[in-house]
């Protein structure tokens, strides 16, 4: 998914996920701010997704992995319930700037049928509002401003695409009037 140079994919991978260390690792204390100490077994640390994923999936030491990943707070059950209740009022950007990409990555790691449903329905419901805002010249500034601020990166691209194509048609209509 995405190319090697895809900035959005890189930023998605840099988002933090909570991890629990299953083993005591000597000398790794600096990742929780303890410059010279060890990471104790059972300590919880926020690691970037790429690092956490690698540590969780590497199974070189007696088949027990080094850390276990926990679902990030942006995809906690509390958030999914809020999305189920009303997708349009949740500020996704505050939860994670690349909310859907993060969700897709997490779904690669865990099987969660329900999360797929919730995320798809959320995206569809919000896409309809985005389309309306993109065709309404005052929407982004006036009454829709709060909603627009809460869009995640994918939704912003969608808004831009919808807005640009509507603008191109309007520009063409203005153009034939000049001839």
């Amino acid at each position: 998914m995405g190319s090697y140079y895809d900035v959005d994919a890189i930023l998605t991978d840099a988002q933090k996920v909570p991890c629990t260390f299953e083993l005591t690792v000597p000398g790794l204390g600096y990742i929780e701010g303890n410059m010279s100490g060890d990471v104790k077994q059972g300590s919880k640390v926020e690691l970037p997704l790429w690092l956490g994923e690698m540590l969780a999936l590497s199974q070189s030491l007696n088949t027990s992995s080094l850390v276990t990943l926990d679902p990030p707070s942006a995809l906690a059950p509390r958030v999914l319930n809020a999305l189920k209740a009303d997708p349009k009022t949740v500020d996704l950007r505050a939860l994670a700037p690349h909310f859907y990409n993060l969700g897709a990555r997490i779904l690669d790691l865990w099987d969660e049928e329900e999360m797929i449903e919730v995320l798809s329905d959320t995206f569809k419901a919000r896409a309809a509002v985005i389309a309306d805002q993109a065709h309404n010249p005052r929407g982004a500034l006036g009454e829709g401003a709060d909603f627009m601020r809460g869009l995640d990166e994918n939704e912003r691209q969608l808004f831009r695409a919808a807005h640009d194509s509507a603008k191109a048609v309007r520009a063409w209509m203005a153009d034939i009037k000049k001839k």
Binding site: M1, A104, D108, I116, S120, A128, A131, A161, D175
Partner: protein, 242 residues
């Protein structure tokens, strides 16, 4: 990223293609038939109606050498009827014009919009052709004095556009990662306007459902290896029969 233009045609390109459509003109001056690369154009004899490509009709109109006869579906009462159909029916767009029956000979080519006379004076009055929005706008702009009520036509076109774009946007809520959206009767300009949005939504839904899709593929492959008929093939068969 490298291409400056988004995929698909831009509105000026669609308008350019639309200028190939035939419209009916009433010439005011004589003109010999023209041999052009695109084919032979009929000679113009003043009171006789003649089908001409839109680009030439607009040119002659601007030089005051001809009058354009608007197609019957651009009359206010047909537009009102189509608009009523659009607003009363929740799902689907108003149907496109019916295709003429294919010629019996096997060498005949299938008809498609630019080669159908869907905008001449003999066109069907009850259906919007593929290039309805472009032709309507361009004729209203260049030949508004050939319409009986240009203002009401303009208003109806605006209304139709709003209703249909709203439907196109609402169709997105019914989309699934592997599903489609029905675009029967949608015009070229509307496709261009909706393309970026609809493809963006489908791309993102596929991204979210990617793990499920992968699972299904794995399951199908296992089924095939175990000798069971795969479910994917069933789906394909059904699609073909519909």
């Amino acid at each position: 990223m490298a291409l400056p233009l988004p995929p698909g045609l831009t509105p000026p390109e669609i308008a350019f293609l639309c200028e190939m459509e035939l419209v009916t003109v009433i010439p005011r001056q004589r003109l010999e038939g023209l041999e052009l690369l695109g084919g032979r154009l009929p000679p113009l004899n003043p009171p006789h109606r003649t089908p001409l490509p839109l680009w030439l009709a607009l040119l002659l109109k601007r030089q005051r050498r001809a009058n354009i006869l608007p197609p019957p579906w651009l009359a206010p009462h047909s537009l009102t009827a189509i608009l009523d159909h659009e607003t009363n029916k929740e799902e689907g767009f108003s149907p496109p014009p019916r295709l003429p029956p294919l010629a019996a000979s096997s060498t005949a080519l299938a008809f498609s919009p630019p080669f159908l006379a869907s905008s001449t004076a003999e066109a069907a009055p009850d259906a919007l052709p593929y290039h309805w929005l472009e032709i309507g706008e361009m004729l209203l702009e260049a030949a508004s004095d050939d319409f009986e009520e240009p203002d009401s036509v303009r208003k109806l076109l605006r209304g139709l556009r709003e209703v249909r774009m709203a439907k196109l946007r609402k169709g997105v809520e019914l989309l699934y990662a592997d599903g489609g959206i029905q675009l029967n009767g949608v015009g070229a300009m509307e496709v261009s306007e909706g393309r970026a949005f609809v493809t963006g939504v489908i791309d993102n839904l596929r991204k979210i459902g990617a793990s499920r899709e992968q699972q299904r593929k794995d399951r199908d492959r296992e089924d095939r290896e175990n000798g069971y008929p795969s479910t994917a093939d069933y789906d394909d068969d059904e699609m073909e029969m519909q």
